[in-house]
Each structure stands twice: as structure tokens, then as C-alpha cells.
């Protein structure tokens, strides 16, 4: 990295969060470890960097405890089991980051290292279908990797074609209005295999959920504000706010997205605007679509969930963290 560090350009000028250091340093070591996969299957699930987002958010005090990214992992496993699939988990102990951020920041050499490594592992394990719950991972694996013979699907596509059924909700459950944000990476930036229909169809299968469209949707959908974790300033916050105000306009109860990064940025602003408990600017919940669907299924999370005692009472935003 010392030699390849660019002196100018985006790779240099943008102050990176710790996460980029961590992910970049993963690419340094490309020796393949000894992989002991307890459960081998042709369907593999790639969770992506969700745990890293959680730690990053905690470290930068952005929205600690408010947005739970790790639940995407738990929910995806639960949903895949509900459609009769026991996936093999391509977890981060032997996989690397898919390299999306590195590629889009111009660190192509880092990306290529990750791509070659991941491709080798995927071929080695004999994966036939690669399910990812991350819009960026979906795009990267499908377009930027050359995975011949491996079918890359987004989890909403997979659940849709396997016919996920959400059991009828209890009588007491009230009707909820659900808005869906189309992530740019899985929708308008995909020349083939854009995921427009499947998440909407899945939301419609929840019987007490009513799908409402935001002001801009599908290929027109406005960005959540930030591409990847590139930069955060008042301009990007303004974009995020504009998008979240659209959800307020349609009186949504849930703002769903299929991309963990969208979830990060929405969750950040959602947390910031919760100034006092009853004075929220945004009255709806922001969550991933997998979490929304998995909450409507009976049963517990097979992975046990990421239980963190401190998560139960998220601190209010501000320097004091809401204390006193």
C-alpha cells in the first residue's frame, strides 16, 4: 500500500473511516487459510461487511445502538431456512470484502487482489448459487467479478423465486405503510438483473403491510445521499434528509432498503433527529428488508442474534450521549 498510495485524487483527499483501513489491510494477505466448513452446500450466503459497519458506527459514535446491521445476517439465515435452504455461510474468517468500495474509490489494485482471492475461494468450495444480502455485493459479484458457472442473486430475488410465504399476521397487528428505497447498486446501476419487482412482491406478501411508493422510485429513485462510505458532510446529509422527508410525506411506518449502506446513512440521520424521546423528526422505522420479513416469520433467529446488552437503550445523540 505504501507504493500504490496515490498522491492525489479521491483515494488521497477523502478522509477515510477506520473501516477502509481494516478492509484494505485484509487484501494484503492473500494466502488461503485452511478452511473448515462444517456444512457444505451448493447455495452459499455471503453476509458482507455488516459486522464491520456496526463496529464502525460504534466507534464514530454515529448511531450506536440505533441501527443494527448485524441483524441482516441473522434475518437472512432465518429467511433462507424458511424457504428450505440450508446455506453455507461464506463468512469473513476466510473470505475478504467484495471490494466494492475499493473499486469505486479507484483503488483498483486492492480490488483486484480481493477479487482474485474471493474468486479462488468460491471456486474451491464449489458454490453454485451465491446469495448476498447486500446490494453492493450483488453488483460487484455479478458485474465486476468473473464468476463463470456461479449464479449470483440478491436475497430478495432468491426468496421470491423460492416462493417465500409470510404466514398471516395476528389479528391485533395493525396495518403498516411500508416504503421501499431502491438502492442504486442493485437497481438503476445494474444493466442486467436489476432488482425492482422482487422486494416489492415480497413486501406485498405481508398481509398487514401496504406498499407505498416514495416520490421517486424504481429507476428514478433518489440516492440515499452517500455512495458507499465515501464522504459525509452537509450536502450529503441534505440529500439523505430529502429522501427521508419523502417517506414522511407518504406517511410511511417503515422505510425499507436492501442495502446496508443505505441503512447506515438513513439510520444515522434518523438517530440524529431523535432529539428527545417524543420529538422525533422521523416517526418511522428504518430497517433492512430482510429484517422486516424475518420479523414477520415465526420462530427465533437460528444464529442467536447479536445480543448486546448495551443495545437495548440507545443513547440520544449529542456529546453527552443523552446522559443526564
Amino acid at each position: 500500500m505504501a507504493v500504490t498510495e496515490t498522491e492525489y485524487g479521491p483515494g488521497r483527499t477523502i478522509p477515510h473511516p477506520v473501516m477502509f483501513r481494516v478492509l484494505d489491510s485484509e487484501a494484503e494477505d492473500t494466502t488461503i487459510p485452511e478452511i473448515k466448513v462444517v456444512h457444505k452446500a451448493e447455495v452459499a450466503y455471503y453476509p458482507g461487511c455488516v459486522d464491520y459497519y456496526d463496529v464502525e458506527m460504534q466507534f464514530s459514535h454515529m448511531n450506536y445502538g440505533d441501527t443494527n446491521h448485524g441483524i441482516i445476517f441473522d434475518s437472512s439465515i432465518k429467511l433462507l431456512r424458511a424457504v428450505g435452504i440450508e446455506p453455507m455461510v461464506l463468512d469473513r474468517s476466510f473470505m475478504k470484502c467484495c471490494g466494492h468500495d475499493q473499486l469505486w474509490q479507484g483503488k483498483v489494485d486492492v480490488f483486484e487482489k480481493m477479487r482474485d482471492y474471493n474468486t479462488r475461494i468460491i471456486k474451491m468450495l464449489g458454490v453454485k448459487t451465491l446469495v448476498t444480502s447486500c446490494a453492493e455485493g450483488y453488483r460487484t459479484f455479478r458485474l465486476d467479478y468473473k464468476l463463470d458457472g456461479v449464479r449470483v442473486v440478491h436475497i430478495t430475488q432468491f426468496l421470491y423465486e423460492r416462493g417465500l410465504r409470510i404466514p398471516p399476521q395476528p389479528e391485533t397487528a395493525r396495518k403498516v405503510r411500508v416504503a421501499y428505497q431502491d438502492p442504486c447498486r442493485s437497481c438503476r446501476q445494474m444493466p442486467v438483473g436489476a432488482v425492482y419487482e422482487e422486494p416489492r412482491e415480497l413486501i406485498k406478501r405481508v398481509d398487514n403491510a401496504e406498499l407505498v411508493e416514495l416520490k421517486t422510485f424504481r429507476a428514478d429513485a433518489q440516492c440515499c445521499g452517500v455512495a458507499q462510505m465515501m464522504y459525509c458532510n452537509d450536502k450529503t446529509k441534505g440529500l439523505t434528509r430529502k429522501r427521508m422527508d419523502e417517506a414522511t410525506e407518504v406517511q410511511a411506518d417503515y422505510l425499507l432498503t436492501a442495502c446496508p449502506k443505505c441503512l447506515t446513512h438513513f439510520g444515522c440521520l434518523h438517530h440524529e433527529n431523535r432529539w428527545k424521546p417524543g420529538e422525533e423528526r422521523y416517526g418511522y422505522k428504518v430497517m433492512d428488508i430482510t429484517q422486516f420479513l424475518a420479523e414477520r416469520l415465526p420462530g427465533d433467529y437460528p444464529t442467536g442474534g447479536n445480543v448486546d446488552a448495551r443495545r437495548k437503550e440507545p443513547p440520544l445523540p449529542g456529546r453527552k450521549g443523552g446522559g443526564s
Partner: protein, 173 residues
Amino acid sequence: MAVAAPPPAAPAPSDPLIQYYRDVRQRNLQLAKDRYKVGFKVRTQEFIRGRGTLAVVIDDICMGCTHCFDNCAFESIAMVDRKFALPEYSYTSRKAVIIEENCVGCEKCAIVCPVDAITMVTKHGFEVKEGRVVQAGAPPRPLPVAAPAKSAAAPAPSAGSEPPSGDPKREGD
């Protein structure tokens, strides 16, 4: 529908699959935390001690737009009025001034400056070596991590009092 379907799966890790998912999950959570520990340290050190660089304003170019003033996270930029005298007339103009005690060298002001009036220089005791800022007198970057740590420690005390492990750049990446 579920192949192995014990819906109340919480107290029953008897299913090897559920045990597998649980193990993977916990391992991943721990892995993310462990890998972050290195990053925490580097970033904290950078913020406390600075990167070894310092911002410098070139008065001739600065037009007093206050972009850097607005963007500095460490309150290390002040805007002052300066008097200038030309042969024909004199005038005052607003210029940015770096408060050097507060500057950590994050480069943010240099990035936002629209006329590139801010440059970064190395602080006292630092120098640019192989394209990166290192402490002056520090031994060259060891190629393998473990082996030359002892051999490189020998010439280090003569040049700088800092131990070689104190350089945040080399721990970082």
C-alpha cells in the same frame, strides 16, 4: 418447509446446523471487533499526536473565503484582517491564519481551499521519506514485520528518542 424445523430454536443447539450458524455468527462478530482494534489505535494516535504535518497559509493567494475556517474540526484556523500597503494605496484584507498548537495536519483545510492557498509541511522532527511522513531519524520501514524489529532498534536510539514502535504510520497499514 424448513428441512430441519425446530421453530423454538433458542435453547436447542442439538441441531448441528443451528450450531454451525451460531458458531459462524459469533466468530464473525468477534472477528470484526478484533480487526478493528488495530484501526482504533492508529486513528486515535493520529488525532491526539497529529500526523506530523502542519498547514501553512500562503497570504498572497488566500482570499479570505473562510471555507477552511468553517471546515476545521480542531478550531485551529482564525480569520484575521491584515493591512497591506502598495505604492499607490493601502488596504486591509481578511486572511486565514493557522493556530499551530491546534493543527493536527488532517489536510481538510487544504482540501476545501478553492484557490489552493494552503499547503502541508512537515512538523519539526518529521520528514518525508519514500512518499510518506515519518519521524526524523526513524529507521527505514522493515520489510518483514518480526525479524528486523530487533536489528532496527540498534541504530534508532542515536537518532531519535522515540522508540520505533511509536510511529503511527508504520503500525497503520
